[in-house]
């Protein structure tokens, strides 16, 4: 039995019928075609499915879609503004913080959530904020530098 839920995704209202056991990650990816949200483990351990839900970063694989009823969600597809890349995205390019790109969406959303709360984080604060976002390619340093540099 499906349930009708309403969400605001990337500033666009949407209404969708979901199964009660469907995760938010699956609804975003399969029903809404927002495949920028990745699935690296499906049990909340890798961070590649991170989205911002009502201002807070969540592993969308651990959130049931029905729990997101009435919520506002930001995914990687909503980061770019009319003026172009978001400053965090610019910083990732400038610092060379991208390799394979599979962790990148989640990293950027964790970074946004941090910077919204704390615009000038130090090294440790950045590392803590992205400690749930695994990266196997970069060694993290350029990602940390990019996030720290956004508002500098």
């Amino acid at each position: 039995m499906k349930k009708l839920i309403q969400m605001t995704i990337n500033d666009t209202d949407c209404e969708i019928a979901v199964r009660p056991n469907q995760t938010l990650a699956d609804v975003l990816r399969q029903e809404l075609g927002l495949t920028g949200t990745k699935k690296g483990c499906e049990v909340g351990e890798c961070g590649t499915c991170t989205v911002i839900l009502n201002g807070k970063p969540v592993n969308s694989c651990l959130v049931l879609a029905v729990q997101a009823d009435g919520c506002s969600i930001l995914t990687i597809e909503g980061m770019q503004t009319d003026e172009g890349l978001h400053p965090i995205q610019e910083a990732f390019i400038d610092k060379g913080a991208i390799q394979c790109g599979f962790c990148t969406s989640g990293m950027i959303l964790s970074a946004k959530s941090l910077l919204d709360q704390n615009p000038h984080p130090d090294d440790k604060e950045v590392r803590t904020a992205i400690s749930g976002n695994l990266c196997r390619c970069t060694g993290y340093q350029k990602i940390v530098e990019a996030i720290k540099g956004v508002n500098e």
Partner: protein, 760 residues
């Protein structure tokens, strides 16, 4: 060499980076197909067993199930494997490890596929299993494969080490062990497939070698090569594991029979359970030096556990002994490495092919020798470092780029400063600081075998240039680097090139993205193709500009007269004229490094055309009461020949060091318990220190613009440096990786550092 128009050594924007920031690239699991069937593999839950029966009747009745395949459904050759074909796509008659694929379900949805997989009844007759490679070599051991459990032996012999040991001032003999490791790329293996309008099988996959996948699919299905097309999707890391046929064969099999779109996406648990691991090695090293620290002789007995299947085991078992001396000249060498089947999960390629394991041993030995002789660890490495004119253990004369001494020189100020100041800085009462060194060498390309790359370049009638390469970019940035090399030869900006990458319908074989080979080998193939086109453009230019060829150059899409840059001809005009005259503007490039196969008895030969070198310094803090190790900083000097794209080189170095920290301190795959990332820890942002890359450019004459490689070298020196740092901190050495809390604490207790006195 044509003009390098500033494109070499420049960190241009990486191809695909902006798309990745926007979440746009389509990884395999992101593919949108028309109502695809989903595939689910039933893995074996037995270590070693005969298959007496597979009953799929109940599973087939699950609503939504379309078909269930077993080995009998494989049309042609059921065995796969890049070096030796021993791994069945689906188990036939018996299983050799937990994780062997037994059956494949195709269903309308994942729920049906998973439910059905659980309802397949396999009747097994358990066989004795063997899980230790030394046990597996005993006469009574159960045979994993009919031909026996010894897959391969590599021997390297030079001089007479036993006699040379007698003359040594100091001889050190120790046993080292490493564990199974899991690559843990962030993107679990995945692929999708469909039939094109001509009925050809199109398979889109996360892969490091689309052309190998293609040959394997043709072999499995027994179809004409042109009936199969492999397209590399955006690939979320590989580190060696995506060299095997992980999902591609299942997709091909289902597509072949069902002729409708299919998808196969592994869960993390499936990726852990059904893909290759890093070979665990047991290594007994004996090394002797004279009173001045000159290495006189070394012997090593190595045994590597390749689990149930060979995969890249032969390459690992060849590379590890070839590199066992480390980047040092030793006149008397005797090394033997045996690669052995067991009923463990199969082991294959993982970043470094056995050299990270070997480096752990040879660099520990260097520190032990230095200690015995009262020498500084950096000094003993400098005394022995390979130089041009030296001969390696395989008798290869090094005459090109040998930058190990430059790497040691480059880290020296950092190392000395760390010893002088950081080491003695104030710390918590339970914390001990240590500084460690790790050096390495690494042959670029496959070991003593042909491993060519090809590429094509084409100019259309309007002067637009397309580069075709089969080289899989798995995140390291090869597409960008290859575009820079072609652009440099043709005197254009890389963004003027159209890149066609990793699609067997359009690109030719570039070989595997492995062995740190793509910049050197595919880079040379691309350069070769671009030079042929450049030569035609210049030759045509002579006729059009009425100037001698030597006075012409290529610049910004024009053939230009050097002495008067206004006297020039655009590529578009030359292309139009060539098209009219029937002159082809499509050229193939080819490069195969010059190697000589290794002698089976002595190992004599030329395994690689060139080598990369590196040295890392690790600053570590050990909590002697808990065993916790914190890596404070890593300084990483790498001789890469020439850094075509310095930011990417530094990216490889930093990422490699992170994997090295994991190898040193935390990563261990236990076949019976590791299921997810909570059981298998890789370094998080909190675990990683600052890494200071130092790029050394000892130009390689045969490299494209002098380049060699860096992908695997980046990881290799880190673990030895960290281990030597821990030893420096707690005055006790760890011989078994990873140096986890228990092992470090044990070392701390053994050395007397663990003492409550300090608490008071």
């Amino acid at each position: 060499m044509k003009s390098n128009n500033g494109m070499i050594g420049k960190s241009i924007p990486r191809i695909g980076a902006i798309e990745r920031l926007l979440g746009k690239p389509l990884f395999s699991a992101d593919m949108e197909l028309d109502h695809p069937l989903v595939l689910k593999v039933l893995p074996s839950d037995r270590h070693h067993a005969r298959i007496l029966d597979i009953d799929t009747a109940e599973a087939a009745r699950v609503e939504g199930v379309v078909e269930i395949f077993t080995a009998e459904d494989i049309p042609r050759n059921h065995l796969t494997g890049i070096i030796n074909k021993d791994r069945p796509l689906l188990a036939k008659n018996k299983v050799r490890s937990k994780g062997d694929a037994v059956a494949l379900v195709a269903a309308l949805n994942i729920h049906a596929a998973e439910t059905a997989a659980k309802k397949i009844h396999v009747v097994y007759e358990d066989l004795p299993s063997v899980h230790d490679p030394e046990e597996a070599l005993k006469n009574h051991a159960s045979k994993v494969h009919e031909k026996g459990n010894l897959l391969f032996t590599r021997k390297i012999k030079k001089g007479n080490p036993e006699k040379a040991f007698e003359a040594c001032a100091v001889v050190v003999e120790k046993t080292y062990r490493t564990s199974f490791l899991e690559h843990t790329y962030l993107e679990p293996d995945a692929g999708a497939g469909y039939l094109d309008p001509d009925g050809n099988l199109v398979i889109i996959a996360s892969t490091q070698n689309p052309h190998y996948d293609h040959s394997e699919l043709v072999s499995l299905l027994g179809v004409a090569p042109e009936k199969v097309r492999i397209v590399q999707a955006a690939t979320g890391g590989g580190f060696g594991s995506k060299l095997d046929l992980n999902v591609q064969g299942f997709i091909g099999l289902a597509l072949y029979h069902l002729k409708r779109p299919v998808m196969c996406t592994f869960t993390r648990e499936e990726t852990y359970r059904m893909t290759a691991k890093r070979h665990p090695l047991k290594m007994v090293f004996k090394t002797g030096a004279d009173e001045n620290g000159h290495l006189m002789a070394m012997t090593a007995k190595m045994i590597c556990d390749t689990g149930a299947y060979g995969s890249y085991g032969l390459a690992v078992a060849s590379r590890a002994p070839v590199h066992a001396t480390g980047p040092y000249e030793i006149d008397h060498v005797d090394v033997e490495c045996r690669c052995v089947y067991t009923n463990n999960p199969f082991a294959g390629a993982m970043r470094g092919f056995g050299v990270p394991q070997a480096a752990f041993a040879h660099e520990s030995q260097m520190d032990l020798l230095a200690e015995a002789l009262g020498m500084d660890p950096l000094e003993i490495r400098r005394v022995n470092a390979l130089k041009a004119g030296h001969k390696t253990a395989t008798g290869q004369l090094l005459n090109g780029s040998v930058g190990i001494d430059q790497c040691l020189e480059a880290v020296k100020p950092h190392y000395e400063n760390a010893l002088k100041t950081w080491l003695h800085g104030e710390t918590d009462f339970a914390k001990q600081r240590g500084v460690g060194l790790g050096a390495m060498w690494y042959g670029i390309g496959n070991t003593g075998v042909q491993n060519p790359s090809t590429a094509h370049i084409e100019m259309d009638g309007e002067g637009r240039i397309t580069l075709y390469t089969g080289c899989a970019d798995i995140g390291q940035g090869s597409t960008t680097v290859l575009s820079q090399i072609a652009a440099a030869v043709l005197g254009i900006s890389p963004d003027m090139l159209c890149m066609v990458v990793g699609d067997t319908a359009f690109t030719s074989n570039a070989g595997a993205t492995s062995a740190s080979r793509q910049t050197y080998i595919s880079g040379n193939a691309v350069k070769n193709a671009a030079e042929k086109l450049a030569d035609v453009l210049l030759t045509e230019g002579v006729d059009l500009l009425k100037r001698p060829k030597t006075d012409l150059m290529l610049e910004n899409g024009f053939v230009v007269y050097k002495k008067d840059p206004d006297h020039r001809m655009p590529f578009s005009k030359i292309a139009a004229r060539a098209a009219k005259r029937g002159i082809p503007l499509r050229w193939q490039g080819y490069f195969d490094p010059e190697t000589v196969p290794l002698d089976p008895e002595t190992g004599e030969g030329v395994p690689y055309a060139t080598y990369a070198f590196a040295c890392h310094v690790a600053l570590v803090t050990v909590d002697v009461l808990t065993g916790e190790v914190t890596v404070h900083k890593i300084i990483a000097a790498h001789d890469v020949g020439r850094a075509i794209h310095p930011a990417s080189v530094e990216g490889q170095i930093r990422g490699g060091a992170a994997m090295g920290v994991g190898f040193a301190l935390m990563e261990e795959y236990d076949p019976s318990t590791t299921r997810s990332l909570k059981d298998y820890h890789i370094p998080t942002a909190m675990d990683m220190p600052e890494i200071i890359p130092i790029i050394i450019e000892s130009s390689e004459p045969t490299g494209p613009f002098g380049a060699k490689g860096v992908g695997e070298p980046a990881l290799i020196p880190t673990a030895p440096a960290v281990i030597n740092g821990i030893t420096n901190a707690v005055s006790a050495r760890i011989y078994h990786l990873p140096a986890n809390l228990e092992r470090v604490l044990e070392a701390s207790i053994q050395s007397g550092k663990f003492t409550m006195k300090e608490v008071a």
